[in-house]
Amino acid sequence: MSPGETAAAEPRPVPAGRPDAAPDAPARYPGAAGRLVRSELRLVLRRRRNVVLLVGLAFVPLLLGVVLRLAQDAGLAGQGPPFVASVTGNGLFLVVASLFLCTPFLLPLTIGIASGDAIAGEASAGTLRYLLVVPVARGRLLAVKALGALTFAAAAVLAIAVVGLVAGAVLFGVGDLTLLSGDTVPLGDGVLRVAGVVAYVGLSMTGLVAVGLFFSTLTEVPVGAMAATVVVAVVSSVLDQLPQVAVIHPALLTHHWFDFAEMLRIVPSVDVLAQGLAVQAGWVVVFGTLAWARFTTADVTS
């Protein structure tokens, strides 16, 4: 047998002394990622506390609609904060008005609760250690938790929007939409624009979710992470009011939250909307990275 033959034809001998190098290395079942995500979403969306929060948010447009309906003959019609004044004329505005009222505090509060709880809740229950030894890679678990928190944020915004739409249609009827400039667009266009408002508000919450997720990796006390997250939103709003720090205003988490109104101009400014979304993307990148850096290296002693 020539040396060349040996090299070409004979299989390489298996290196000895390496037990179980290959035989029972567990397989990854196809669809495992989907199974993990579904399990997490079920956990988030079926949890009673979260359901109560969503129902609470859904009450905002309902109550607002009923109050405006009862008061519309009292000579106060057309008064009140922006958007609220327009509700009695067109039920579509109940969606916008409700989001306008919830954006400063109620939405950040509920989203802070859900995202602050994401990791810290598992840590405080002690379940984090059992998830990790299953095992699941920490980066993967963090991504799934982020997805769960984002889904909850979306559900929160949608709860307001859907109930607002239904209540507005029932109480006031819907029709062609009168824009901020006074121009009127047909109903179909109007619905799309309101949908754009809802989408913008939803995307505006992503930065806050990332902040909450980061705080959630720092502590085993979920309430601490929740409170810290809400505080960030509040402090951001306060700074946004101070002209002395105008230079940082454009980068503030909350600065662009009300730019959803852009959707109600004749020609929405893509620049304004893009800037608001870019700021959110920046917060997501920074705090998402911090959360990842912290969570993938921290000792789990809970």
């Binding site: 567990p26 990854r28 495992a32 059992y130 299953v134």
Partner: protein, 350 residues
């Protein structure tokens, strides 16, 4: 803590020697650590240069008082806590680098059970199974039912975890560890919160699993609870592994306590003979009880000489003309070794 430093040093050296396989044969041990150390940010050294050797197929009793570093060691084994120094191999693979490949074969109960309180026992197991990318979702239900039945929770499977008693929670923790066939089980204080019947059941379960070839590391601060099922023992104290090896070796290597009672007239002869046999610490106790005087000694074997067998000691005493009223040789129990090494409680081994 008042761990006698001298006793520690002499005990650890010979006892661990036979348990150490030739260097490099990492795959022979289900668990093997080298110089494993954890220093927390507070500066506290929780685990100090621990070399754990748990042979495949062993039931390894990991003992030590509360706060001796057992749980931190276990957390490092499982990749939850990063070691400050040292290495860990589980089932032949380095941790935590190969956690994804190794941990599916490892079932663990770490510092008590923990589950989502508002989910049922069954739903909690389903959640853990959904997290495991390497299990077949089609068999999830059957496997969780089997695990629940195995720990006697079948009837309470659909109750919320919040409503479980402490013992039921512990059982659910065991069920989670048994959700799929495992090559290694790491059970940290598995009998906590269980009544004597539950404790017996856990022992039975551990024995059954070990008979089926699973390696089990079971930790406890209550040695009596798990002593009966262990083939190997490691004793932690103050962050150090004070002693480890096959259980039988650990007590066989310890000095026995020899007690002779004889008539007052024969005491001197007895003392001379006991010393001649190489026994140490020969002491005559004060006072005459039932017409006899008690002489105690120990067969301390640190000098490497063969220790006389009890029957030889008795025969030698009789040949020397010592009339034996009573004669007793007691090898210290594992518990006494444990107490002596860890300094827990009073020093009953002497």
């Amino acid at each position: 803590m008042t761990t006698p430093a001298g006793a520690t040093a002499t005990a650890a050296a010979p006892a661990s020697a036979p348990a150490v396989p030739q260097a490099g044969a990492v795959g022979d041990d289900a668990i093997r650590t080298h110089g494993l150390t954890k220093r927390f940010r507070t500066g506290q050294v929780a685990v100090d240069r621990v070399d754990l050797h748990v042979p495949r197929g062993a039931v390894y009793g990991f003992l030590g008082p509360n706060g001796s570093g057992k749980t931190t060691t276990i957390r490092m084994l499982l990749g939850l806590v990063a070691p400050t120094a040292g290495e860990v191999h589980l089932l032949g693979s380095p941790m935590p680098r190969e956690a994804g490949r190794v941990l599916p074969r490892v079932g663990a109960l770490v510092e008590g059970p923990a589950f989502q309180p508002y989910l049922s026992g069954r739903a909690n197991l389903a959640r853990l199974d959904a997290v495991d990318a390497s299990t077949d979702p089609r068999t999830a239900r059957a496997r969780s039912d089997a695990a629940l039945d195995r720990v006697g929770l079948g009837a309470a499977a659909d109750k919320r975890y919040r409503q479980y008693s402490l013992g039921m929670k512990q059982r659910l923790g065991l069920a989670a560890a048994l959700l799929r066939p495992r090559d290694l089980l790491v059970l940290d204080e598995p009998t906590n919160g269980l009544d004597p019947q539950g404790t017996r059941e856990v022992r039975h379960l551990v024995r059954e699993l070990a008979d089926a070839g699973t390696t089990v590391l079971v930790s406890s601060h209550l040695l009596a609870e798990i002593e009966q099922v262990c083939t190997h023992v490691g004793i932690m104290g103050g962050g150090r592994l004070l002693l480890q090896g096959p259980r039988a070796d650990l007590t066989a290597r310890r000095a026995a306590h020899v007690m002779v009672r004889t008539a007052p007239a024969d005491v001197d002869a007895a003392v001379v003979e006991l010393r001649r046999l190489g026994l140490a610490d020969v002491t005559v106790e004060q006072g005459v009880v039932d017409g006899g005087v008690t002489v105690v000694a120990s067969d301390a074997a640190d000098d490497g000489r063969d220790r006389p067998a009890p029957q030889d000691v008795a025969a030698a005493l009789v040949r020397a003309g010592v009339g034996l009223l009573a004669f007793d040789v007691r090898r210290p129990s594992l518990e006494q070794v444990f107490v002596e090494l860890t300094g827990e409680g009073f020093d009953v081994a002497r």
